[in-house]
């Protein structure tokens, strides 16, 4: 970038002219001790919980423990230049991050400062990172879908706008892959995405950024990164910062999707901060409020009604609801969902997508366990055609699981059982989907319809994937209007069914796969 000197001088001049020289009465205290990024400050009698405290060298701390004679605070960022005896000033502000459309396409840290080297962010507004979730009156029930583009999720565990759906599984089971595919699929839906990376390797975040850029998904996405190299305090606040950035869209009558990857690491970071602050440890050494840590965060993901949006925008936006959908990720150790943090988050969310390493290793990807994965509110939001066609897929898989265990011992099976087993095998095969290749509603509908109506029954199991690819290619080229119609309305009626049947019969007659 070429810098023009006059522009810079003008910039500086305007900044100096608008510079506000207010004199404020502030409360000052003294740093009494500094250990592992935890400050104990004497004085600061009127500090607030969560207030930003200004320290020498443009450093800030967040007040977490308010005691009678001292304040326990955690330094945000580097603390090597600080020492005992430094002065600490109250700022009178709760920790805030910049919000707005200007953040789209950017990578920011937990304080909302850009870390992608693309220059400053021109955000007009800021908002506190800790906010109270919308109340009962302000909410609206979930009735619009978030299309993940993954047929196994959209058909069996549908997600609605404003829902909180947990993605849970061991390491290396494709949790992040599900989330990234969902982001990529939102290019046309208009849903703004926020990806919060907590405690991940910086290289992993860079990889995700590159993948999103490759799939043109960064223009509707914001990445909030608190990598493993950053302090525990930053990892602890990153999800709240991301949530505040997402709430901006919700409160302005738009739809947003936030992914917390992952909350296990955030709980670890919070445990570290709490133990250093000498708060009493509880189960698994987590502090007593680790449930509240996640419940207050996830409660902020919600669908709000038009009145709330109108009130919030001072009448600028009328008649539009807003939503913030949350996909928190939890990593389990050796499939143990009964550990402390996983049980907490399972109970807070509106359902979970359970990913298993056995399925992943068996080549079933996404490795979704259809039996344990549920969506408690998404059914009301599902597209009509997928709801109609997806129901029998779930049933077929449930029957298959039951029979598969039993059939291992039985040599002689009756025809019905055999048919169910074969259908189940094929549906399992059909639910496989490659990464970075989200499907439209119509494509999913065609695949599901083919399975339901027995078009797959004569196809060998190892040819199912090829069959599906060829079928979709054929239908898309020959019956483009049908595909368009389904994608536009999402309806399911006799006319559409007849058209789908005709399309599949046409493909089968060709027999090319």
């Amino acid at each position: 970038m070429q810098l023009s000197p006059s522009e810079i001088s003008d910039l500086i001049k305007s900044r100096i002219e608008s510079f506000d020289t207010r004199v404020e009465a502030r409360t000052e205290g003294t740093v009494v001790s500094l250990t592992d990024g935890i400050l104990r400050i004497h004085g600061l009698a009127d500090a607030m919980q969560g207030e930003m405290i200004e320290l020498p060298g443009d450093t800030y701390a967040m007040a977490l423990n308010l005691e009678r004679d001292s304040v326990g605070a955690v330094v945000l960022g580097a603390y090597r230049h600080l020492s005992e005896g430094d002065t600490a000033k109250c700022t009178g502000r709760i920790l805030e991050v910049p919000v707005g459309e200007a953040l789209l396409g950017r990578v920011v840290d937990a304080l909302g400062l850009p870390i992608d080297g693309k220059g400053p962010i021109d955000a007009k507004e800021t908002a506190p990172i800790e906010k109270i979730a919308p109340g009962v009156i302000e909410r609206k029930s979930v009735d619009q879908p978030v299309q993940t583009g993954l047929k196994s999720i959209d058909s069996m565990v549908p997600i609605g706008r404003g829902q909180r759906e947990l993605i849970i599984g061991d390491r290396q089971t494709g949790k992040t892959a599900v989330a990234i595919d969902t982001i990529i699929n939102q290019a046309k839906s208009g849903i703004k995405c926020i990806y919060v990376a907590v405690g991940q390797k910086a290289s992993t975040v860079a990889n995700i950024l590159r993948k999103l850029e490759e799939h043109d998904a960064m223009q509707h996405t914001i990445i909030v990164a608190a990598t493993a190299a950053e302090s525990a305090a930053m990892q602890y606040i990153a999800p709240y910062a991301g949530c505040t950035i997402g709430e901006y869209f919700r409160d302005n009558g738009q739809d947003a999707l936030i992914i917390y990857d992952d909350l296990t690491k955030q709980a670890w970071a919070y445990r570290q901060v709490s133990l250093l602050l000498r708060r009493p440890p509880g189960r698994e050494a987590y502090p007593g409020d680790v449930f509240y840590l996640h419940s207050r965060l996830l409660e902020r993901a919600s669908r709000v009604n038009a009145d709330y949006v109108e009130q919030h925008t001072n009448g600028r936006v009328k008649g539009r609801t807003g939503s913030l959908t949350a996909l928190p990720i939890i990593e389990t150790q050796d499939g143990d969902v009964s550990a402390f943090v996983p049980t907490n988050v399972i109970s807070i969310t509106d359902g979970q997508i359970f990913l298993e390493s056995d399925l992943f290793n068996a080549g079933i990807r996404p490795a979704i366990n259809a039996g344990l994965s549920v969506s408690r509110v998404g059914g009301a939001a599902q597209t009509r055609i997928i709801k109609k066609l997806g129901g029998s897929v779930r049933l077929a898989l449930a029957q298959y699981r039951e029979l598969a265990a039993f059939a291992q011992f039985a040599s002689d099976l009756d025809d019905t059982t055999r048919a169910q087993l074969e259908r189940g095998e094929r549906v399992t095969e059909l639910m496989k989907q490659a990464q970075y290749s989200p499907m439209t509603v119509a494509e999913m509908a065609m695949s599901l319809y083919a399975a339901n109506e027995g078009y797959l029954d004569e196809v060998p199991v190892n040819k199912i994937v090829d069959f599906e690819a060829a079928m979709l290619a054929h239908v898309k080229s020959t019956y483009a209007d049908l595909i368009e119609k389904i994608n536009a309305s999402g309806d399911y009626n006799d006319e559409i069914e007849a058209a789908m049947r005709a399309a599949l019969d046409g493909f089968k007659a060709k027999g090319a796969y």
Binding site: E24, A25, R26, G29, V32, H42, D69
Partner: protein, 178 residues
Amino acid sequence: MSEFTTTARPYAKAVYQVASATKTEKSWGDALELMSAVVANRDMISMLDNPGLKKEQKGELFLQVISDRLSEQQRNLARLMAENGRLKIMPEVAQQFEVYRTIAEGKIDAVAVSAFPLTKAQQSAITKSLKDKLGREVTLTTSTDESLIGGVVIKAGDTIIDGSMKAQLAMLASALGR
């Protein structure tokens, strides 16, 4: 240290209640100051840290030094604190006693630091506006610090009102650096 502040608080509070009931704030204030000075003495510290002495012995040794200058109640305080092994927090007790005293008297000490010496008129203007703001009687002391360049910094308790040129330049620097 903040931990000592917490332990010193009940002593200071009790002492203040006794003093105000008997209208002997001045005498108690002097006594606490005296005892703090004695406690800070190096020989006294090594005596108090000596594990070979019993708590009562420490109390008596402590009192031997200044016994004649204390009232009976003040000696009792020293004995009580010796018994609880708290003689060393005497300076904190004295400090907090003064805090209770200034609060009760509705007074506050303020320091005005300026780049150039303040005139009498300026001082009384500062005193008056501070009194309006804090709602207490202000005792103003002044000092000069050339590094402020201009303006004045007023410190009253925890509150700092920084109207110096130095602070404004620092704010401008951080605003431009962003």
